[in-house]
């Protein structure tokens, strides 16, 4: 382990804003992308089911 205390770890030798900003931005953007794909796929699925239902009603 490289660090002696939690504070030292969080402080990142004074670069906390830049280091945690980079890791935080990456984590945020990638999890947003997962949520976004999940929502888009659910929408595509429900549109497909709606189309299927209207076909069944027509038949």
């Amino acid at each position: 382990m490289h660090w002696n205390s939690l504070f030292e770890f969080l402080n990142m030798g004074g670069y906390a804003l830049y280091v945690w900003g980079s890791f935080g931005a990456t984590a945020l953007v990638l999890s947003m992308e997962c949520w976004w794909v999940k929502r888009a796929n659910a929408q595509a699925q429900s549109e497909l089911e709606a189309a299927q239902l209207s076909l069944e009603l027509q038949a």
């Binding site: 382990m1 490289h2 660090w3 770890f9 990142m12 030798g13 004074g14 670069y15 804003l17 830049y18 280091v19 900003g21 980079s22 890791f23 931005a25 990456t26 953007v29 990638l30 992308e33 997962c34 976004w36 794909v37 999940k38 888009a40 796929n41 659910a42 929408q43 595509a44 699925q45 429900s46 549109e47 497909l48 189309a51 299927q52 076909l55 027509q58 038949a59």
Partner: protein
Amino acid sequence: LIFMNLYHYASPARFYPLAARLAPWFAVLGVLLGLAGLYLGLLVAPTDAQQGEGYRIIFVHVPASWMSMVIYCAMAFWSAIGLGFGVRLAHWLTAALAPTGAIFAALSLITGALWGKPMWGAWWVWDARLTSELILFFLYLGFIAIRAANDDQRRADRSGAVIALVGVVNVPIIYFSVKWWNTLHQGASVSLSKSPSMAATMLWAMLLMALAFWMYSIAIALWRVRGYILRFEGEAQWLHEASLDSKPKQHAPLDTHFIEDLDESKAAQTPSPALGNETKK
């Protein structure tokens, strides 16, 4: 034999369940590699002699930049397959990769700015490396925009493929920019011709993070392309069925094949920590 297999899975109906089976594995691998990379990069790797702890941005900046270039090359590859062999699925894979590539290009620029500020004293400089990466980001946006602007699916596929193939010349420009021009950006961290200029733990952390991003990209593109298949192929399927309603159903086995695959893949899905259960409502 491999070509026959590839041809087999070029059918969207067959690829749809395959993507569902593969994506969770890539997602799990991505999370594990990412945790290992974060552990090495943030907790084990030593302080850099010149940049102190600030250098740790490298563990997201370099992998994100690599991915932004790799994904664009993959898009050019699938576009060539799509145009050359008329495989629609290849165009959809290209389209499914684009948002992820744009995200990694944006992350490369954001984390680069966060690194540039403390080390160079500037968030941004009009340097060859930074500028060519910004152009890559705009190429991704251009690709996404031109697909969105074309209502006709096949025209969208073709015009997107042209952007992907023409734009790929920018990738070697980004890569070699630090050699060709005198730039503020530092040279290659890892090169094939000489031994790496960094400590072994640093190198391992960076490679693990790069592999993690690679696995993440494959997983998310596979999930995204499933949505595209539903949207592009599903619609055609129902239209086709609708037109068959008045005729004898001689094509029925072909039609239901796709639907069976959908149900099968739903049952086969396993939840993954990175992606959740996509089709659950």
